[in-house]
């Protein structure tokens, strides 16, 4: 419905839009701006840094950090002894790398990537089968199962945390790195599973059954049609659901904070950033740079799937 508005109302309307947009994205600009500011510039309320400082990013991404903190004399010595092997050089340099307060951002990033990536993959795989069963096959108990899946929305993580922690300790999962990683993987998978099931189920219903029927008359089995027809036809929806599950796992902090307590090596980004924030090495530019780098992949993925996601979200009522 397009109605003519008086100029005053149009101006009011645009001010409202500007207010909404700035409310939404101001924190992101704050993050980016602080990550690029020098410490003496923090109190400056302007979002534009007086002088750009990329040191925090370099440090987090370990760019050009090798020779930092190495005294001149040592560098000279290294230069003047060309017959030294590379291994020897590295051992000497390693001594001066201030490993104490270096934040291992790339490691945490990879941990998060591995956990979220694999958990989302498993979740989507199991959900494809389940969602197909929901949307195409008639069997007793179908609606109970479907409603049961929605029921899961009502449980907060805290209700599952204590029992799952106790079970994992009793079974000895948490005494090894692999076991801890596996336990978290399965927990992340089950957290994203209801979302995947729901969104995929809704999508599969939009695919006309006649296409499948034709294939089955040609002699294709049910599983064959899933593989040859359903998956190719809904590949964009599957990618959307994968990315959405990935984002849920990427965000998770509650379980990680309890399960990974003893394994600094396995820290995910939320764990790592939180640890950095409460440590004595907390520096705003570093924290903000790490925040920017944590948010970037998620926002980039979101931009890719945006159209599909907004459709899926409003149809499925996805958890958040």
């Amino acid at each position: 419905m397009v109605t003519k508005r008086s100029p005053i109302r149009s101006i009011g309307f645009f001010i409202l839009i500007i207010f909404i947009v700035s409310f939404c994205i101001f924190p992101f600009f704050q993050m980016l701006s602080t990550s690029l500011k020098y410490q003496w510039d923090w109190g400056n309320p302007s979002l534009i840094p007086t002088q750009i400082n990329t040191e925090a990013y370099k440090e987090l991404l370990n760019v050009g950090q090798n020779l930092k903190n190495v005294p001149e004399s040592i560098l000279e010595l290294l230069e003047n002894t060309p017959d030294m092997t590379k291994a020897q050089r590295d051992t000497i340099l390693a001594k001066y790398r201030n490993s104490g307060d270096v934040f291992p951002f790339p490691k945490y990033f990879l941990n998060s990537l591995a956990l979220s990536g694999v958990a989302a993959l498993l979740s989507v795989f199991i959900a494809i089968l389940g969602a197909y069963s929901f949307s195409r096959l008639r069997f007793t108990g179908r609606s109970t199962v479907q409603r049961g899946v929605l029921f899961v929305y009502m449980f907060g993580g805290i209700l599952l945390l204590i029992p799952l922690y106790k079970v994992c300790v009793s079974l000895g999962f948490l005494s090894t790195k692999g076991g801890t990683f596996g336990a978290l993987l399965v927990i992340y998978m089950v957290q994203t599973l209801p979302v995947s099931l729901y969104m995929l189920g809704n999508f599969f219903r939009t695919i006309p059954f006649s296409i499948e029927e034709a294939a089955m008359i040609e002699g294709s089995s049910r599983l064959g049609t899933i593989w040859r027809i359903i998956i190719p036809l809904s590949i964009s929806a599957i990618i959307t659901v994968y990315i959405y599950s990935f984002m849920i796992a990427w965000n998770e902090y509650l379980f990680a904070s309890v399960f990974l307590k003893g394994y600094k090596d396995l820290y995910t980004l939320p764990m790592g950033l939180r640890a950095l924030f409460v440590s004595k090495n907390a520096v705003w530019d570093r924290i903000m740079a790490a925040s920017v780098l944590t948010a970037t992949p998620v926002i980039a993925l979101f931009m890719i799937i945006q159209k599909n996601l907004t459709g899926g979200l409003s149809e499925g009522g996805v958890k958040g």
Binding site: F28, G43, P194
Partner: protein
Amino acid sequence: MTNLLATQRLGQKSREQLLGWGLVFPAVFIILSLILYPIIYNIYLSFFDVNLHEGNTFTGLENHRSVLMDSFFWKSVMTTVIYVFFTTVGTTLFGLIVALVMNQDFPLRGLVRSLVLFPYVAPVISVVFAWQFIFDPVNGIVMDVLVERLGFFSERVNLIGSPSSAVWIAIIFSIWKNFPFSYLMILSRLQGIDKNLFEAAEVDGASGWERFRFITLPEIYFVTGSIILLRVIWNFNKFEEIYLLTTNVKVLSIYTYFKAFVGTMDMGQGAALALIQFLLLIGFILIYVKKVLKW
């Protein structure tokens, strides 16, 4: 011939049954063993003095009793109620306003629509620090504006640092983070309203407010009602968004977390707390579904 067909159909039907269950089995199995079983186990644990490595000691209702006798518990119930009430009202109202705005035509609407979703998709862990900085007493812009420019406060205060004000910051943060969900749901419902209704109303001389009151509002009643229900459920259980922003706001989830995993690590009481929290939620849902959604 008819007989043959019947048996064949029956065969196909039971085959479909089998396949249906077979395909959904992995999902159901995982959900049962990682969600339903832990909930039951949580109820069980709430009756014990839980020891992580040795056996548990049965204590009956002792955990529940000491939780209910604790004044901190009631304080955290209050905090939770305040938090849930204001975040739910805030996200729903703001989501509704934004949905009404985005339902109009204006230049760059596509871009604006995707920018509005940013708070919802960004990882909590990264945006909390931006908010921390905004409210930072030394460097933050809020104190700069309130103290230096407007003179509301005579000195810079740490709003996130003190429990009485932190809950309001947590509420504003949650509204910022979650309103896009309400906005999306309401917008998609708004787009489904028959345009003829509005045109007919306009011909009849209905004002903008009347059109909203008598057409839009009844059309979005159900979706808004469901959003409120979902929001209450999710915000009642919220942990990360609050804990990562500030540990000063002791809503039930955070209180339970501290009880079970920090300091003396009393998991039995933690389990009792989680159970009581769950029962409170179920109670609310039953009343709400009956009174508001009229199912």
